[in-house]
């Protein structure tokens, strides 16, 4: 896949953040890709759940864009923009969703459970909060091995923050003082559950102090703000400050998954400021400022659409895994597999 987003923006007008257009492009990659996934799902081409990051692209792009080689990223279910920005090939996504045997999980796991731990992109298990201590272990080990200058970034939802696992993970990270950034997105719903049945504090950023974290809040619909706040948090963690908690506020602009019509979201909520679409806002700004030059938006969308189509075509041309070929071995030490009649 062309990593075209790496290219310098050619705009005359100054963007509100030096990496604004680059980040916008990752937002658009996620949006275009996920719109395609949604239609493939509706067309019955995808088995299992499809979970989209619609509305969360600005936050997620800002999560991925500041990470460098040697950094670790543990994304969750709404992080397509961040995954792409961190270097996940579109082909990984399509192979996973379309069930190619060549996908990163080789059919053993699906959708957003995919990952590439070898490239420091962890593969989540479903149990929310469980990846936080795993990230702590990665960072602790890197320090033990004498590595320097690295950070880890992981994401969580306002619902996932109520699990015991996330509490223990957040706390142990501070005790070990690892260079960690936790980006928590309050999208006002955990599946169908609104905030008032999830937590009772005024603002989840109030948890930062109780863990010994530095906390910051950000409007997740504002790409500039996301780049500034998350960028600064990554910088602080890299500089050896305590772990960072960034709490972003948005509305989930899709169902929990594509099977869910989200009819439980009250219409008033959809009128809130946090319910605006970060992508639309970014495109409005780009158009107004004329960033990226003529037809930038149209051209970029077309480029990305082509990349997505190419990935789909490739994945669709590949074989599905076959049970009879599967290596049914849960251990890396084959001779220690129990021979169960």
């Amino acid at each position: 896949m062309l990593q075209t987003a790496q290219r310098e923006s050619k705009s005359k007008a100054a963007p509100p953040h030096e990496r604004y257009l680059e980040a916008y492009r990752w937002m658009l990659v996620a949006r275009v890709l996920e719109e395609k996934l949604a239609s493939l799902y509706r067309g019955g081409m995808i088995t299992g759940g499809v979970y989209l990051g619609r509305g969360q692209e600005a936050i997620s792009a800002a999560c991925g864009i500041f990470l460098q080689k040697g950094d670790v990223f543990a994304p969750l279910i709404r992080d397509q923009a961040g995954r792409s920005a961190f270097g996940e090939p579109l082909l990984d996504v399509m192979r996973t969703y379309l069930g190619s045997r060549q996908g990163p999980m080789r059919g053993r796991d699906g959708n957003i459970h995919r990952g590439r731990p070898k490239d420091n992109q962890l593969a989540m298990i479903s149990h929310l909060g469980a990846m936080i201590p795993v990230m702590v272990g990665k960072l602790l080990a890197k320090r033990m091995k004498g590595e320097k200058g690295f950070v880890g970034l992981t994401t969580i939802g306002e619902g996932g923050m109520q699990t015991g696992a996330s509490h223990e993970g957040l706390n142990i990270a501070a005790v070990e003082r690892v260079p960690l950034v936790v980006v928590a997105t309050n999208n006002h719903f955990a599946y169908s559950t609104p905030n008032d049945r999830q937590f009772a504090c005024a603002d989840l950023v109030d948890r930062a102090k109780g863990y010994g974290y530095e906390g910051s809040s950000v409007d997740g619909t504002d790409l500039t703000a996301c780049l500034e706040v998350i960028g600064a948090a990554v910088q602080r963690a890299r500089a050896g400050r305590p772990p960072q908690l960034v709490v972003a506020s948005i509305l989930r602009l899709a169902g929990h998954g594509e099977h869910d019509d989200a009819s439980y979201v009250p219409t008033e909520v959809k009128k809130e400021l946090f319910a605006r679409d970060a992508l639309e806002l970014a495109e409005k700004l780009i158009a107004e400022k004329g960033l990226g030059g003529d037809d930038y938006l149209k051209k970029t969308r077309a480029e990305i659409a082509a990349e997505v189509e190419e990935a789909i075509a490739t994945a669709q041309g590949e074989d599905a895994p076959v049970g009879s070929d599967e290596n049914w071995c849960a251990l890396s030490t084959r001779e220690l597999m129990d021979s169960l009649a």
Binding site: R108, G110, H113, G164, T193, R197, E326
Partner: protein
């Protein structure tokens, strides 16, 4: 609690699914017993749960169907406290797989409460269990063996619409913690014409198909795979007896032994992981208590000893099915 089964049967005549039976049982319980409330993630409001097992109940029974934070351990802990105070909470896990983070409250708190303090702990934990297409390693598990291994719990796994209904009502009536394993694959696939008027109690297995040549002892979704095999073999003149355990703990050893006494041959089938678990427990009981009833070596068939795969092609090979059961059955009959 005396229960008139299906007194409130809204389904007579029309067909009712396994999932609807679970919802109706809960509606019945909420209606008949003010001590009952339901506690879980996304079960309230219009939404009515990830699988809609509580659809409409929150509106019908205000304040008694409550959404919780994503805190399985606290969900069960809260239910335990409420039960000690005389309530009859039903906890819905969104998936059985997520009960792993509530396991401590279930095993060490609910399971020991009565024995330690003589205060009963009548909670019912509903576990949407078992594999479905494309669900993968963390939304497909069957955990009945883990909960049965520890003392102090009753573990049930209904395989029919009728049992889904009556066993849930009975589970809530029991003064002890009950782990109610409902199979997601059966939610929509399984239909009955009406809710049952009476029932077989928890703790009793059922001979769902009589036979003389081989006993297949199984439970939950695998009952239907076994029945398909039995039907098939019958065409060839081989009569397989199929036993639905219904209750995993306490296990109805007598019914199993009586069947093996008739057939002399035993195959145990389960959808869970192969090491230990229900099939090993059943074979052990027959080997230790009914050794001389066996004319041939007993056999078991379980899922493979790996996590449960996402891709349908892999999943189809991972779990037992009519094809693999038939092959095993042929082996045993050949002995």
């Amino acid at each position: 609690m005396r229960v008139e089964y299906a007194r409130t049967n809204g389904f007579a005549g029309v067909s009712v699914t396994y999932l609807e039976a679970i919802r109706e049982a809960q509606a019945h319980l909420l209606r008949e017993d003010e001590r009952v409330f339901i506690y879980g993630q996304d079960i309230a409001g219009k939404f009515g749960g990830a699988f809609k097992a509580t659809k409409g109940l929150a509106e019908q029974f205000p304040g008694r169907v409550l959404n919780t934070p994503i805190s399985e351990d606290a969900m069960v802990g809260t239910a335990i406290g409420a039960a000690m105070e005389g309530m009859r909470p039903i906890v819905e896990m969104q998936f059985a797989d997520f009960s792993s983070v509530a396991l401590n409250q279930i095993l060490n708190n609910a399971g020991t409460q009565f024995w330690r303090t003589q205060i009963p702990c009548p909670i019912t934990v509903r576990l949407p269990s078992g594999g479905t297409k494309g669900s993968g390693p963390f939304h497909s598990q069957s955990m009945e063996a883990i909960y049965s291994h520890y003392p102090g719990l009753v573990v049930v796994a209904p395989a029919t619409v009728e049992d889904a209904y009556t066993m849930l009502i009975d589970a809530v009536a029991i003064d002890d913690p009950v782990i109610y394993c409902e199979h997601k694959y059966l939610y929509y696939h399984l239909k009955a014409n009406a809710l049952p008027k009476d029932r077989l109690p928890i703790g009793k297995a059922r001979v769902v198909r009589p036979g003389r040549d081989l006993s297949i002892v199984t439970y939950s979704a695998m009952v239907h795979e076994a029945l398909a095999v039995a039907k098939d073999f019958s065409a060839k003149g081989i009569e397989i007896e199929v036993i639905d355990l219904r209750t995993i703990k306490p296990l109805d050893t007598d019914t199993v032994l009586a069947s093996v006494a008739r057939t002399g041959r035993l195959l145990c089938v389960g959808e869970a992981f192969p090491w230990g678990g229900v099939t090993a427990e059943v074979i052990t009981r027959v080997a230790t208590e009914g050794f001389h009833l066996l004319d041939a070596a007993p056999a078991r068939l379980n899922a493979k000893d790996t996590p449960i795969p996402y891709h349908p092609n892999l999943w189809a090979e991972h779990r037992p099915n009519a094809k693999s059961i038939a092959a095993k059955a042929r082996q045993i009959l050949a002995e």
